[in-house]
Subunit: 237 residues, 2 copies
Amino acid sequence: MRARLYCERCAVRQTSLCSEVSDEAARELVPIAHHRRIPAGQVIQSDHQGLGWLAIIVSGVVKLVKAQKDGRLQIVGLQYPADFVGHPYLSKNSLVAEATTPLELCCFSRTAFENIMRSHPSLEQALYRRALSDLETAREWMFLLGRKTAREKVASLLISMATRVAPPPACGKAAELPSRFELPLSRIEIADALGLTLETVSREFRHLKDAGVISTAGRRSINILSPAMLHTLAASD
Amino acid sequence: MRARLYCERCAVRQTSLCSEVSDEAARELVPIAHHRRIPAGQVIQSDHQGLGWLAIIVSGVVKLVKAQKDGRLQIVGLQYPADFVGHPYLSKNSLVAEATTPLELCCFSRTAFENIMRSHPSLEQALYRRALSDLETAREWMFLLGRKTAREKVASLLISMATRVAPPPACGKAAELPSRFELPLSRIEIADALGLTLETVSREFRHLKDAGVISTAGRRSINILSPAMLHTLAASD
DNA sequence: ATTGGACTTTGACCCAAATCAAAGGCGCGG
DNA sequence: CCGCGCCTTTGATTTGGGTCAAAGTCCAAT
């Protein structure tokens, strides 16, 4: 199984980098991989001067936060298992990446990784494709922020989180919503992702529960009672 | 002058692709370049099945629009002279690119361009960097959509358009706001870029004029009377 | 120069979501 | 098992920006 090529403990799912690069590139990556665990809430890269590392998420969720000095902040990206964290050729980005749940990472030192990238176009291309996919995600999110109502925003985020947190669908099958999943974000974080306040998020959760679309157990468990209704409320075309 | 390498009529400014790739790559690109003019308002790529072309903007502005069937729409990107339009390895994107002003493009057929890209890593890397830069722009924009007030949104967009529409600053100098520039967007387009309505945009223009920050001449000419005040109102940190 | 139509401005009113305020409940450490 | 914080819910009120409506302008084609 090729996923093992990276690193013994990296049971990263099929979609990860391993299946996108040439065998030689993968073989060179193995020895420079190392694991790391990060507790929830910890910042994972301030990344001064291009130092630090790049990583593939093995388990857990990372939020990318853009903040202003006046205290306002907006979550501008969520990275799930198999996603890449950090960018080579770092554009001194003004982002903070933070674990929203306990995290398992498969890390590569930045310089070693960039060296392999230079000699293996397939690796560079794989990252390029990921950047394009991130861009597409960001633009979809821009539509949500600019044009959707609070209700649609919450429904959309629930769908997107449920899809990404669930195990990947069998090859060739469309992704389906799980009937139950764990929220990787608190109410405040959901609000910061959607450009809302936590009170509004809470009220929309209440509405979804009253409408029989979802039910909750504890603070983080969500049951999706009516996937069809949820999709309708999300109004994603 | 290296800019000429691309194509005789491509007086694309210094920042463009030409200065970012190897000489050999640039030499291969020249023969496949061709020019095209596009009137304002015209859609420039629906790009079915990866056909069509990729282009560098020589003059004019392109808006990237994401629309839903219910009529809501959001501008999710603006491309200015020297920017790239379209993505290789096209991720069948759900975007429509449209000229907001008359446009001059330097076009490359998609397949020819991708072939050159495969044999010239410097070209691929240049596009990768552009994608990362687009991503950074998109995330900045997400903050604006999610967390800024109408006034801050309008001020921010004015600054960004004024900066990009102006001639590039002398090497080593910081970009400075021109005292006068032409808006590349109508009021409706500004509203669609900022997640507002055209009425709100109009009212914020009025406020900026009353406050002596800008003045207008005709529908599209803007005079920046107080760049400092404009920056303050934009609240970009 | 005239004129028609689209773009823009302005005004009046309304509503979705923010803000302010106060309980309530989950879960962790003792 | 208990109690204390913090996260979350709920309620009351406010408000920024949206909606609806009407007048005013720019400008391109006649």
